[in-house]
Symmetry: C2
């Protein structure tokens, strides 16, 4: 299953081209709001915690990585912000002349479209660029070779579906559903356990950072006190699962196929993530707060647009599991079901948050 997931992940962020009603440029106001709010946090993080005295000699380049960069424009905007913030710090300290070279590694799964990424690199960039293929749940870089690791909206994707939820003999068997939203508590626990394992492997990136190096995370998450059905994505996955079950009842898909299909997306509450960081011990928490996306009210609201968006995210995953002939029927049913729902009409209903987490590598 790992392959299926990794194969599909990049779809999530691959923007539709052009300027039409379904184009990224017309539908990315929410995402652009995240990038803008993140810029401020990155600037503060670097101003207050990026230690140019200790770990930037005049000769060594500053090495930065964006984990889960995908192919799109957002990674270039973010990386540019990071480089500018570090340069600004040199200037503000009056050590202008010592500004080092920058080497930026763009990381994503092997199945990511690096050709497109490379062709879109900004021609006037102020850094050297390299692509690094591979899951960030494995080892990617030499020891102590990085100064800053960034990752935005990637950690919510688990490295794999928890085995138990697909195991008939397990109490966590997720029969008739495709996600933990509204499922029995054992299913949620299995997802939580997998997320904890994934965070442990992410935090082993610490050895790839120099001492004092920064891990800057933007994590799609949920408030500590809430029901999982209070996020658009959770609710949508629940409704999509019910559409699949409807189709199983009329013989359009096998019910066993629905039982074995699960979407490996997990949204952590801040408290749980904090506990995982502290248990791991490689990092000190410098900041942990909810990002204030001032464009939250621009979230997609029409049922057809939300359906298209979810289809873009899950299409490949569904196709691989069920075959492509069910796609139109499934998403027609889905659009129809959410049309009747008032849930998506009010952006305030959406409880999903983006958590900004700034970690510093311990000695």
């Amino acid at each position: 299953m790992e392959d299926k997931r990794t194969h599909e992940l990049p779809e999530l962020y691959a923007p539709n081209g052009g300027e039409g009603p379904y184009s990224y440029s017309q539908n990315s106001n929410y995402q652009r709001g995240v990038v803008e709010a993140a810029k401020e946090k990155i600037n503060e993080a670097i101003a207050n915690h990026f230690d140019i005295q200790t770990f930037c000699g005049t000769k060594n380049p500053v090495c930065i990585v964006d984990l889960g960069c995908s192919t799109g424009a957002n990674t270039f905007i973010t990386v540019q912000n990071i480089v500018e913030a570090i340069k600004l710090k040199y200037k503000s300290k009056g050590v202008n002349a010592q500004i080092p070279d920058f080497l930026v590694f763009f990381n994503d799964n092997v199945s990511n479209d690096f050709n497109t990424l490379f062709k879109s690199l900004p021609p006037n960039r102020q850094y050297f660029a390299a692509g690094v293929p591979g899951s960030f749940h494995g080892c990617l870089f030499p020891k102590a070779s990085l100064h800053l690791i960034h990752s935005s909206c990637a950690l919510n994707w688990l490295s794999k579906i928890p085995i138990e939820v697909m195991d008939e003999s397990s109490p966590a068997w997720n029969k008739g559903r495709i996600h933990y939203t509204n499922a029995k508590k054992e299913v949620l626990e299995a997802y939580e356990t997998q997320f904890a394992k994934d965070m442990e492997s992410l935090f082993s990136r610490a050895q790839e950072l120099v001492v004092g190096g920064l891990l800057v995370l933007f994590v799609p998450a949920v408030p500590d006190v809430m029901s999982n059905s209070d996020t658009f994505t959770g609710t949508e996955l629940d409704i999509l699962g019910s559409c699949l079950m409807d189709m199983a009842k009329v013989g359009l898909v096998e019910e066993a196929k629905v039982d074995s299909f699960n979407v490996p997306a997990y949204y952590t509450p801040p408290k749980k993530l904090k506990a995982l960081i502290e248990r791991n011990g490689n990092f000190s928490i410098k900041r942990m707060e909810v990002l204030n996306n001032q464009k939250k009210h621009l979230i997609l609201q029409s049922s057809s647009l939300r359906s298209l968006y979810l289809k873009a995210v899950l299409e490949g995953m569904i196709e691989k599991h069920f075959g492509n002939e069910i796609l139109d029927e499934l998403f027609n049913r889905f659009t129809h079901k959410i049309e009747g729902s008032s849930f998506f009409l009010n952006p305030e209903t959406e409880k999903l948050i983006i958590l900004f987490v700034l970690l510093e590598r311990n000695n």
Copy 2:
């Protein structure tokens, strides 16, 4: 024109799959001979000149780049050889425990198929891998960030066609030909001048190497004393040009189009390359010798195979300039012309050499 060339370059090394009569595996004996002979040279170079004392601290990774890596298997074999040779050196010096991490950068033009390269990375490789897109005639890496630069069979491709050979008013105008082989001396001089500029930009890679770092080159070249018509490629380009002119005479292509088409491939004599290295001054020449390819007798001899090989190399370039409708006619004519020639029957006729050049960065 630069784009056209860079777009097509990777084709040269992209091996045909499978095991059929036109597959790379059936036709790569000559190339494999180069890789095998190169291995010995690389081993010696590292044993004698890679200074593990000076520039490999225990904490910093050894950084290696392959310039012009393409997508294929050869780059992985070569990189593996380099890593093993350096490890062997650590072992032979009894500093086993200090063997550092290795970070290998695979470089080629932006148009190279990095997706394929990344998917083919050996799963059990002993190094961290990154892809770096861009021409090695421009700046690619931070200052003093590399320990060894390797490039095989790439320097014979010029960064662009010399402008003069396409300029009607220039004495170097290459009317009716597509290469300098058998052309007037001004054409050859224009190619030589472009090659000299390209080598100057290659040698500026010195600043990206640490002091004492190595530049290991395998350069398709010609003996100092010979006629350019004594190489298979030169002769083939000359014949291909004559086929194009034949087609122009019967109205199948425009003559002006032939006049403006030139193949940016140059094969240097060793003496000229040596002079360019010395004039540049960034490097000391540690070794410079002809590679002994013991599989030279396995060079492709049949006219149809040579035609296919040349087509694979030039197809995209020709298509971009003339359109794809002329391809079949052109290569049919070409195959027919070389069928009558005894030139390609004897591998000893081929005077092309592979020059091994080992350079060390000066202080």
